[in-house]
Symmetry: D3
Subunit: 68 residues, 6 copies
């Protein structure tokens, strides 16, 4: 039953997303004692001009960008 | 006033979305006794590589894909 | 697979929510050609002091409150 | 710590988003007494066929579209 | 039309929320050229045991708590 | 930078949430190559009458409840 939504900066490969959702599901199952088929994960990929930290778009910020 | 957000796999036509939002609005008005102009609906279309069930991306899963 | 999140003002009875989720699920199945077991609905009940229209909290606004 | 998600119709320039996130961050810092580096803002840009008011897609509605 | 959702730690007074939603609405209207009645704001108040930074619940973390 | 929102049925202890957020953060850091201080996790606890699968509230459904 757990539904997870994760907001990420754009640009991860499908391989990364495959690993991420697989590993997050295992973690949830282990911590919450649910079965994998109960877990749903939504990935929301944000453009660098659609996310801001400290009032600054990531697309404008070289240092934050490196950190993602 | 109700605000509804619906997460769907990508690929529905505008006609489908038109019908969906029209019908959902009628259902909400009937069940909650609100007027249509109070209802807002956000559709979030997810790529098949941005949604996972059972720790598996939909883009990797032929059977789940058919079910959407 | 569709996941629906609905934001409502607090105060609906369980009977109302039962009807609402049942009817919304039917509407989604009919419009999107999915099966009921694929549909998940999250109800988010907001306190009247946690929702604002026109920059005004619902708890401060007698007319908007009636409209919910 | 505040996390803000804002749903907008598609089509704002990067300059508009830069101003919006900068000004929203200042407003949050002033009202909640937090520091800018604690504030994160997610912009969700919706296509005109992915948002409905009164059961009508914005892409179908000339008057609502002008109002955004 | 803009819909804004803001996630905050629990504990702000109604006066604070009144000011916050009023000021955020003004900021949005000014930056996006929309009218106040088009703006909706949802406040999501999180318990200190329902928010984590650096893998640590706020309720477990004295320094982060002060910063909110 | 990743922001994760997880929707759960109500009733987990603080110890469970502590373990969950700690483990999810480690998983995200390992998979996405980010540092722990960049990760934020929001837990949304839903009442059993505020979540529905197959058009049925969890509070009405003995079998689904056991599965959470």
């Amino acid at each position: 039953m757990p539904i997870l939504e994760i907001h990420l900066l754009q640009g991860r490969t499908v391989e990364k997303k495959r690993m991420l959702t697989s590993e997050l599901t295992k973690t949830i199952c282990r911590c919450l004692e649910v079965r994998p088929e109960q877990v749903r994960i939504i990935i929301d990929e944000m453009e660098h001009s659609n996310f801001a930290i400290s009032g600054k778009l990531i697309s404008d910020s070289s240092t934050v960008k490196q950190d993602q």
